[in-house]
């Protein structure tokens, strides 16, 4: 209940203290930094466990089950193993860049959580440009990945990093455009305000936006079927080919922390964040985050990896136009839809989504042979 009291405190203090100080009082910063780091690290461990066990069960295997009950300590065991490993730096690599890359890749992921609300007002900084902040910060990880690719002085690393840059640049556009629809409905960029605006979860009001954001988000954080940057059957391990020991652990951590972030943002923007009946709000938030991640694991297990040209074609031919159309339709609806009929819009929007996806899949044929580049 400490968080609940804290949330009340935050709201109480917001009015009296200077607004430029995040949260209004000094220990708020310290407390939420600790909470965020603990939350992310715990959830990363949970996610690794869910991913390995869930994926194994979907493939009719058992998954890791030796360390602890149901293999729940497997992430810990892996972490200890990785920590004890030798740290190898390529002799011809750019040593400073090679050393700095994991930090640059991991730090922004934690920073994103500054604006994700765990409860009403319970967040590090209720920025009124929350989504803009998320979009801006989340792209910095890519720089870390490219630094890793460059600093390793290895063709596979560089190739993986190049693929990462290409896909992130492409997928940023549909991802941001699909977010704008949510912003239009909520009328605010602050994530807390967006949650407060969700009397109906935005997944119902914005089904197409959710679909586009989910696909784009998966591609941006390097989840299978879009894990081309570390496609192990093509380019060894992509950008972290030359990494070992603690640095590799940082990349591994960053990868799953990004999954936590995207799940948290999807839960916040589309699934109603911390809102829900009976259970405490932070628990609802965690449940929704895990549910979103489960869908990610599900798609990862099911779908085979796309080719790089398919990845680009999906972004530019499928997601981008649909995101634009979604934005226009949402804008028209926000302007013209009568306020008295909020529930009627749900079947309308779902029909529009189904029609558009069907239409676009008729327009464009992906995966027909090689594309000469």
């Amino acid at each position: 209940m400490a968080i609940a009291n804290l949330g009340a405190n935050v709201l109480g203090h917001l009015a009296t203290l200077p607004p430029d100080w995040p949260g209004g009082f000094w220990w708020h910063w310290l407390l939420f930094t600790v909470i965020i780091i603990a939350f992310v690290l715990t959830l990363v461990m949970g996610f690794i466990w869910i991913e390995r066990r869930g994926m194994a069960r979907m493939q009719a295997r058992l998954g890791p089950n030796r360390a602890g009950p149901f293999g729940i300590l497997q992430p810990v065991a892996d972490a200890i193993k990785v920590l004890l490993k030798e740290d190898i730096v390529p002799s011809k690599g750019d040593k400073i860049v090679h050393w700095l890359a994991p930090v640059v890749a991991f730090a922004p992921v934690l920073m994103i959580f500054a604006v994700v609300p765990f409860q009403d007002g319970a967040l590090l900084a209720d920025l009124n440009i929350g989504i803009l902040y998320v979009v801006a910060i989340s792209s910095i990880s890519t720089v870390g990945l490219f630094m890793a690719g460059w600093g390793s002085s290895n063709k596979y690393s560089l190739l993986g990093a190049m693929r990462d840059i290409a896909s992130v640049v492409s997928y940023e556009i549909p991802v941001i455009l699909s977010l704008v629809g949510v912003v239009l409905i909520a009328g605010s960029l602050s994530l807390n305000q967006i949650v407060l605006a969700q009397d109906i979860p935005f997944i119902l009001l914005q089904p197409l936006g959710f679909l586009l954001f989910f696909i784009g988000g998966c591609a941006e954080i390097n989840r299978s079927p879009f894990d081309l940057f570390e496609a192990d059957s093509e380019i060894v391990a992509g950008f972290h080919t030359e990494y070992s020991g603690m640095k590799f652990a940082m990349f591994y951590l960053a990868e799953y922390a990004e999954a936590v972030v995207i799940s948290a943002i999807i839960a916040t923007l589309f699934l109603g964040g911390w809102r829900g009946p009976i259970l405490p709000p932070w628990l609802w938030f965690v449940i929704k985050v895990i549910a979103v991640f489960f869908v990610m694991v599900w798609t990862r297990t099911t779908l085979p990896r796309v080719r790089i040209d398919q990845l680009m074609a999906l972004a530019w031919k499928f997601l981008f136009p649909l995101a634009l159309i979604n934005l226009i339709i949402t804008a028209i609806q926000v302007l013209t839809w009568p306020v008295a009929l909020p529930w009627v819009i749900i079947p309308v929007n779902i029909t529009i989504m189904a029609l558009l996806v069907l239409l676009w899949s008729k327009f464009f044929k992906l995966g027909w042979g090689r594309v000469a580049v």
Binding site: Q59, A60, P225, L303, V306, L366
Partner: protein, 165 residues
């Protein structure tokens, strides 16, 4: 990812994986859990019947690996050979079953065991009493149709229930 089929394949694939999530995994946790073996298995152990055996050493002669060694002595009062020592080096045995096939007195059988790996070379060698039949060391139906006829019909091993040890 064929989008001209509006994601039907994806939906099918998702259905397959979620059904696998709900089914029982096929993995067997081997040392703790093991599959029921086929009753018709030809295991990698030999069972020796000391009553029927006359010490003729046909099995030793037939063994392509030379893994069977028999030392026998003559007993004049009974007018027959007595087996002093029969020694099978199962490390050399290739489970070909030739010794079972050639035995004129039906004194040697294949068993059911499949876990004869040992830590030391000496433990692999089986001598006299270790080769006798017992409750754990039952005879398999290999080369003996009358034993095989009593066995249940062969089924797929996957369908068999795993047992906890």
């Amino acid at each position: 990812m064929q989008f001209e089929r509006y994601g039907k394949g994806i939906a099918k694939g998702l259905r397959v994986t979620i059904r696998h999530l709900l089914r029982h995994p096929v993995t067997v946790q081997y040392p703790e859990q093991r599959l029921n073996t086929s009753r018709r298995i030809r295991g990698n152990e030999l069972i020796w019947d000391n009553i029927k055996c006359t010490g003729c050493a046909t099995c030793a002669k037939s063994c392509p690996q030379g893994a069977i060694q028999i030392i026998s002595s003559v007993t004049p009062e009974e007018n027959k050979y007595r087996v002093e020592k029969i020694e099978v080096d199962t490390g050399y045995c290739i489970q070909c079953g030739l010794c079972v096939e050639v035995c004129p007195f039906e004194a040697i059988y294949m068993g059911y065991a499949y876990e004869r790996a040992k830590y030391r070379r000496e433990e692999v060698v089986q001598t006299n009493e270790q080769l006798l039949p017992s409750a754990e060391r039952r005879r398999s139906g290999y080369m003996y149709p009358e034993i095989a006829a009593e066995l249940p019909r062969q089924t797929l091993l996957v369908e068999r229930i795993t047992e906890e040890k």
